[in-house]
Subunit: 347 residues, 2 copies
């Protein structure tokens, strides 16, 4: 039986193997991804982001358990993206704790992903993983990432629903930072709500939403969606039901408090997306970005592979000694561009 067929029939070993092959971009991985793609498009992708210390991992755990309680016992995949450490390989300490906590449940699959390769590759890789889980029959895919940089925004942006997790009592100069992250939130959560300052954080977030971050937040990635799919844009003013007001919730993930309410909001958002065609728009945009990133990767890789040996070194020597500018070197290098028009995984 083919690997992708085993994945679709529920083999965890096959799933694990395909994910590794996809991660390393092997021909086997690309082939499996290809075979699995027709069976994608059903899973609800949920991005969870927030500053370090906000208890995201605990929240994701509690959320996974709660989702499993829903009718039909939906299956849940967790992708833990760790863009923090390109050097150590990104093994997150909390990961093992989490695995211990959830390992008894065959309806949950956890996979962490470190950023080893190029940056552009990280969101593309996350989407590839999502496609595998989707085809394997996972109903919810939770994508967890540390949220402070643009890479995280990019990753989260491929999700249907974005949850931004906040925590009481962070410094005041953090407020201006949060504004940027707020814009991508579909649901806001103040976790560790038993800590001092929780109500203050709640009020702050609510006021931010009301003050005008709402319109942008109402459709994460709308800018880009609008750009690539301008003909399909839905004018919000014409259809009030197209507005999504991001709810702000309090949770204590460690004690599973507030998680039921969070699941209710997630399901409401899912319904909203499907009723307003945003689900399809989001899907279309994500797939377009996926194709774009893959092409970028191939163009760059093949360009450097086909450069005659020594050319780059010689030019670098001239640049370092200031005999040539980087721009002139770039022009020079581009004359070697002879990317062949062959299939990139035909051999």
């Amino acid at each position: 039986m083919s690997l992708s067929k085993s994945v679709r029939e529920g083999s965890r070993i096959a799933l694990s193997r395909v994910l590794s092959q996809v991660e390393n971009s092997t021909p086997i991985g690309l082939h499996a991804l290809d075979e699995l793609f027709p069976f994608t498009g059903k899973a609800h992708k949920i991005g969870i982001t927030g500053p370090p210390g906000s208890g995201k991992s605990t929240l994701v755990n509690a959320l996974a358990k709660q989702l499993r309680q829903l009718e039909g016992e939906p299956r849940v995949a967790i992708i833990a993206v760790d863009p923090t450490s390109p050097f150590s390989g990104g093994a997150i300490l909390g990961d093992r704790v989490r695995m211990l906590d959830l390992q008894g449940d065959p309806g949950i699959f956890i996979r962490s992903m470190a950023s080893r390769g190029a940056l552009g590759g990280l969101s593309s890789q996350t989407e590839a993983f999502s496609q595998v889980f989707d085809a394997a029959g996972y109903d919810f895919i939770l994508i967890e990432t540390v949220g402070a940089g643009q890479s995280e925004v990019e990753i989260v942006n491929l999700a249907h629903t974005t949850i931004v997790v906040d925590v009481p009592g962070l410094g005041d100069d953090i407020q201006s930072i949060k504004a940027g992250i707020l814009e991508i939130a579909d649901i806001l959560v103040v976790n560790k709500a038993d800590q001092p300052g929780a109500d203050q954080s709640l009020r702050y977030l609510k006021s931010m939403i009301e003050m005008g971050y709402r319109p942008l937040a109402s459709s994460a990635g709308k800018h880009k969606l609008a750009e690539s799919l301008s003909k399909e844009e839905i004018p919000e003013s014409d259809y009030p039901q197209n507005l999504w007001q991001p709810p702000v919730l309090k949770t204590i993930a460690r004690e599973s408090i507030g998680i039921e309410e969070l699941v209710i909001e997630i399901l409401k958002h899912q319904e909203f997306l499907k009723n307003t065609r945003r689900w399809q728009l989001k899907e279309a945009w994500t797939l377009r970005e996926f194709v774009r990133k893959r092409i970028e990767g191939i163009l760059v890789q093949e360009f450097f592979e086909q450069l005659p040996e020594g050319v780059l070194d010689d030019l670098m020597e001239k640049i370092i000694t200031r005999k040539m500018s980087p721009t002139a070197a770039v022009d020079n290098l581009l004359t070697y561009n002879q990317i062949t028009k062959k299939s990139h995984y035909s051999e």
Copy 2:
């Protein structure tokens, strides 16, 4: 007089204009960058990163002022990179406060930079800005960025000296995150050292350094340096003087406490880099990455520009309806690859 000549002769207006042109990658900007390049290679680039709320901006301000006190009144440029908000355009609130604080000094130039374009472009853009400041005669270039994702690591990694700023009393699940950032630190700072828990943070960082993060930390980016310049690698074991033990300092930036000590450590690190040839290695690696990123940008841009109209849309339609896989679409698109071998800014 040419724009780049005005920049070199100290015109702030010309400098400001060149930076904008470089930011927008206009022919004028590329041309100026080209003309300025022979005059680069002198500035000491210092990256400052740390979690939101650590008081980085205040520290950078205090540091800039302190550096100005050195013999010869060196000139200081500040590049504030904000990768947080791709949506709002990234105007940081604190920026205006800072400008007000430093605006009286003609030896300081502040420029903030938001991440509008591609991610790969951000570190390349920061390097381009650095080159302009370098040629304009700025002795120190302080590159400030929010530190939690890989994009920040990349940006900071082009600096000669990387300062990681910590703050007392962040949650405990943040510890594992910090390990990744620690590896790139040349100097560690516990800011807001008058807050409870400062000594605990100091001890924690010192123990982390001693426990084994030191070898990696001793030369930020060594991995990559080693990869691209393997012939030039300096075996640390042979030359004990090649070891850099990252110092851990306490500061209260708001009151300029500990900043003098920080400057001393920066100068020590500068001396260390120059004595061990790491300065040149770092320089060579940064320039190589700069060339690489530029080529990536051009390859991708030109590829999509030369695609016949409608081709991408048609393929996307097939993907969305699951009639074709993304991989097959990518293969198909690559057959259109006809990037012309012309100079990329000759017209």
